[in-house]
Structures are given as structure tokens and as C-alpha cells.
Symmetry: C2
Subunit: 342 residues, 2 copies
């Protein structure tokens, strides 16, 4: 059964820096990754670090630990999630991913078959994006010292123009690139055993191919990916940092009916759970429709919507227009209601 610890799985020696680790990396890990360098010294050299030849632009760096539970979930796994999580953080900074590092933590007994599946997923996204894995590290913890697997990914990217999450200006339109909360709701459904009933899958996907043409077209003042804490956390953070208000029209927020139903069933708001393949954009008003149209041209962005605008009142707050005249604050969540979401 997938995910069960095995006596033929990873052992302490696979992370112990000697002969067995070297063989393990050379035979089982490195060949999974098509692109293994971004300069004269890369993964194949198994040196103490990698040398990265940088294209011109601003260097952007981001790091993420991934501990998602279960590590295989509807629509993805921790490998795909780890790469997407990190390249998406680069993308919403306006940066094209240039190189990635991967730090593996494994529980002793973690099956090689699961490890291969997870690494193949990670490698698949990287190959799709043309991004090399340039450096890595593997450590093995004893049985009971770690719940199976955790992955750190650190990404290096280059931005022609850096986009912060604080650049919103009054009048900007607020766009979201697709349905909200699918990742969190799919995980919840899987954990609660609602999988067959809902068919919900995670939205986990790399955003750079969607965002690159939009960035090139201009007019973006701020971006953020709504991961932990979902759309509610992302919007609140953006409003606070820019010292502006944001008004959101609830009926404009794209939501899958299955996510809406599950949200009502479990009493958890879709707006507060993580997406892993969506971005929130602030766009100057006269570019909003053009950006929307560009986003919708891409398969990942076909459900994009203009969901609101930046307002001069209520600085630092997010107002939810619930229709028929109702308005309330959309509060910063205390935290994502789903633990180990990413």
C-alpha cells in the first residue's frame, strides 16, 4: 500500500554522507531530473554547492518547507507541490525561475517507490518549466522522528521588474486567476474520506507560464499567491502593506460548486484555505480588462475574474460586498483552518 513504511525503504545510511548515499543519489535521484545545472557546477558534480550563471535582472530568492499531509493527494503530491510552491513565490515577485535547490527529509523506511513518485513529480514540473535542480541535500530521521517526508525547496529567479505584494494603488482592479480554495478543500475532502463524493482536486500548478505574458504586457502593481490562509489572508496582507482598502464583490469570486458545498458541510470558508496554483493581481484600472483577457487565454487562467478594487477608505482592511447591499469585513484569518496544508 502506498505510503506504508517498509523494511526495504530508505535507511539511515541513505542520508549519512558516505558510499551508500552517493550510490543512492547517483542511481535513484539524479537521473530523475532532466536539467541538473545552471552553470559550470551543478547537481552531477555533487560538490559543496552549485555555480549559477545568472541572466541579467534582479535576483529573487524564496524558500519553503513542505509538510503536506497526506503527501499524495487528489491532483498532486508533495513533490509537485514543493516545486510549484517555490516557483510560484518567484512568479508573483515577477521573477522567472532560474534554478532550484531541494532539501529532502525522509523517515527511515519511507518506500523507494513513493520517493520515486514524489521526485518524478517534482522533476516533471521542473522539466515543463525548463528549470534545473542545481543542489540538494538528503537527511534521514529515525522511525517515529518524522511523519514520512518533508521537502524544502529554495528558488532563485530573475525579475526584469520586481513586483512586490505592497504596490497597490487606489483605483486598481483586483483579479484572481481561477477558482479559490480548491487545494485546501481537496485536501480536506481526502482526509475526511469525501474524495469520491466530491471529485475535487488540488489546483497545484506552476504559475510562471500564465503570468509571464501578463507581466510583459504591463499594468501589474502588486501580486501574491493566496496559499496558507487563502484569499482572505492574501488580500488582508496586501491591503495592510499598501495602507489601502480593498473591496471585494463576493459573487465575482470564482468558486467550484463542490468546494462551496464542502465548505458549507464542514463550516470552513473557501476564502481562508490555501490555493497552490492561483495568483491575486492588482492592475491599473485601464489595463484590467486587457489583463483579464490575457489571463483567460491561458488554460490555467480561464476562470480568471475581476473580483474587486482598491479603495481609499478602510485602509488596511478588506470589505466583502455580499450582494443585495450587504457589506462586511473579510478578516485576516488567525491561520489556515487546515493544518499541514502545504
Amino acid at each position: 500500500m502506498t505510503g506504508r513504511l517498509s523494511d526495504e525503504g530508505v535507511t539511515a545510511l541513505h542520508g549519512a554522507g558516505g558510499e551508500l548515499m552517493g550510490k543512492f543519489l547517483a542511481e535513484r535521484v539524479l537521473p530523475l531530473f532532466q536539467l541538473r545545472s545552471a552553470g559550470p557546477i551543478g547537481l552531477d558534480q555533487l560538490d559543496d554547492g552549485a555555480v549559477v550563471d545568472l541572466p541579467p535582472g534582479h535576483l529573487v530568492v524564496t524558500t519553503d518547507n513542505h509538510v503536506v499531509k497526506p503527501f499524495l493527494f487528489p491532483g498532486g503530491d508533495i513533490g509537485r507541490l514543493a516545486v510549484c510552491g517555490t516557483v510560484n513565490d518567484l512568479a508573483v515577485m515577477g521573477a522567472r525561475p532560474v534554478a532550484l535547490t531541494l532539501g529532502l527529509l525522509l523517515e527511515e523506511g519511507f518506500p523507494f517507490s513513493d520517493l520515486e513518485r514524489v521526485l518524478r513529480s517534482a522533476a516533471g514540473v521542473l522539466a515543463e518549466l525548463g528549470v534545473p535542480l542545481v543542489a540538494g541535500d538528503t537527511k534521514v530521521m529515525g522511525r517515529g522522528e518524522l511523519d514520512r517526508i518533508a521537502i524544502n525547496t529554495t528558488g532563485i529567479g530573475v525579475a526584469e521588474r520586481v513586483i512586490s505584494d505592497a504596490g497597490l494603488r487606489v483605483g486598481d482592479a483586483i483579479l484572481v486567476t481561477g477558482t479559490v480554495g480548491d487545494h485546501g478543500m481537496a485536501l480536506l475532502a481526502a482526509r475526511e474520506g469525501f474524495k469520491l463524493a466530491t471529485g475535487l482536486t488540488s489546483d497545484v500548478a506552476p504559475l510562471w507560464p500564465l503570468l509571464a505574458p501578463v507581466l510583459a504586457s504591463g499594468g501589474i502593481t502588486a501580486m501574491k499567491d493566496p496559499t496558507r490562509g487563502g484569499l482572505a489572508a492574501a488580500l488582508n496582507e496586501m491591503a495592510r502593506k499598501a495602507g489601502v482598502g480593498i473591496e471585494i464583490h463576493e459573487e465575482a469570486i470564482p468558486l467550484r460548486p463542490e468546494a462551496r458545498a464542502l465548505s458549507e458541510l464542514l463550516g470552513i470558508s473557501s476564502l481562508e484555505v490555501a490555493c497552490e496554483g492561483r495568483a491575486v493581481l492588482a492592475v491599473v484600472p485601464d489595463r484590467a480588462e486587457a489583463v483579464l483577457s490575457l489571463l483567460r487565454d491561458h488554460p490555467l487562467g480561464r476562470d480568471s475574474q475581476i473580483i474587486g478594487e482598491v479603495i481609499p477608505t478602510y485602509p488596511g482592511r478588506v470589505i466583502l460586498d455580499t450582494g443585495i447591499g450587504g457589506r462586511r469585513f473579510l478578516e485576516m484569518p488567525l491561520g489556515d483552518p487546515v493544518p499541514r496544508i502545504c
Copy 2:
């Protein structure tokens, strides 16, 4: 008691991306780090990534997961270890550390006091080196899902001239910058309860201040830090990669008497356990004495020794001259005999 999980420790919400995590980072984590940016967007902005202004040179990247057990050990802790481990990987590539990222994994209930102690250690080394922490990530796993704490550090450095671990040439002298195996033996002693008896402490320290003047003086053909698998693994890796033999004179290897005694008692070779503040250097013959003297000028290098030389015979192997005419292969260890060493 230090290290015990606490009801007043970290909770799931401290890693859940919302209000509580933001408050926790702003109040308890960020202020511990003196230097928080290497460009216009750094740690304080809590944006999706950091922007790093790079000085001229070759960009070097390295990543490490740290899972050392116990996380507080004689001579250091996981915070100091994490920073040193990563900046040392940069240093032995010839790279000055420019920026660091830090990914925290915490078990729910991990005491804030221990977290502060660990982060203060990390911050202390960074401040000493003048290196900013530019980005981070914190995730909390449930009780029993992680043994207390794991830390990923990813380092970005810049090298005027990159030094690989494969550059050895026949005739080069092999130097080590201090006593060997102290980190591994100190951990073993602590675990086995021999602490008071031995007084051994880890050698964990940042190598850049020791190596920078040596690099500037020239003549270094290869460098490596002997971490997991110790001196034996480092030398074997260097010999294999360069396709040369290395002959080492056993009596020249600096060893603390306490480490030697413990090694005999436990039947574990000091040459196979990790150092965390030592480097192995290959140096062109006519620069060897000058480099030795430069190394000894620095407090971290005062026990430096020339321990051997690169030979044309036995390519890919390491020969240990045991004195009085004895010679044997120093084999690549299967793995470091001490689990969770770093």
C-alpha cells in the same frame, strides 16, 4: 527543562499563514536577526521572496537540512550548526556568503525559549559574518510528527574564483585546518552520557574568516569540508573526482586526545565522523608552507597541519601511511556512523 514539549510552546497556528503567524514572526523571530536584507526587499517585508543585490563574481548556491540530535549539544546547537553548515559549504567553494534563507520545521509544543535560543545562535553567527537572513518559512507539524525541530538553510554566495572539490593535482599538499572528528565525537559523548568525562565540544564554526585570506593568497586547487563521513569521506570523494591518489600520514592528522580515547572506547573512527568547522585543502606544493602559516595565524586554524599529498598511483583511492612502514587504504565509509549528526 530544556527541550521538553510544552503546552505553552509553538502551536499549529504559528505556522498557519495568518494573523498569529505574522505576529509571531514580527515579534519573536525577525527582531533576533540584526541583518534582514541584501537588497530592496528582505525579511521585514514578509513578501513572497527577497531581492538580493549581488556583488560581482560567480553566484554559488548551496542547501542543507539540519536534524541534529540532540538539538542542543556541547559547543553549539542546531541554529549555529545550520548557519555554519551552509556558509561553510559556500566557503569551501571559494564563495563569500551574501545572503541566507531559513526554513523552520517545528513540532507543536516546541518551547518558545528553546526556539529563541536556537534562533539567537543562528543570528549570532550571521551577525558575526555580516550576512543577512533574507527570506524564511515556518511550518508546524503535530505532536509526534517531527522530533522537535529541523532547519533548512540555503546560502547564496559570490566567488571571485570558484574552488571545486575536484581540482587536485599530483604533487599538491593536503592540509586540514584543525583537529578531526570533534563534532561527531562530542555528539556521541553527549548522547552516551560521557559529557563530563570528556569535555569534548563540537568544532562547529564558520570557516569564511579563516579561509578568505588563504583564498586571496592563492595556490588552493581544491577544498571540501569534512562533514558527514568525516575526513575519510571527504578525501575519498576528492580523490575519486580528480582521478588521483591521496597519501595521508596518520601521525600528522590532528586529533584531540579525548576524541582519540572516545574513539577507542566506542570503536568508531574519528576519521569517519563529521567535523563542522574544518576544511580540507589541496595546495600547490610551493605554496603549502605559506598557506599553513596563514591558516595557523587564525584562531580557528591554529591546529592546521599538512597531512599528506596527492600521488599519481592508486587513482581514486586514499592511502593511509600508519607509520613504521605500514600502509593501508583509508576506505570511503558506507556512511557516517553517527546518525542525525548534522
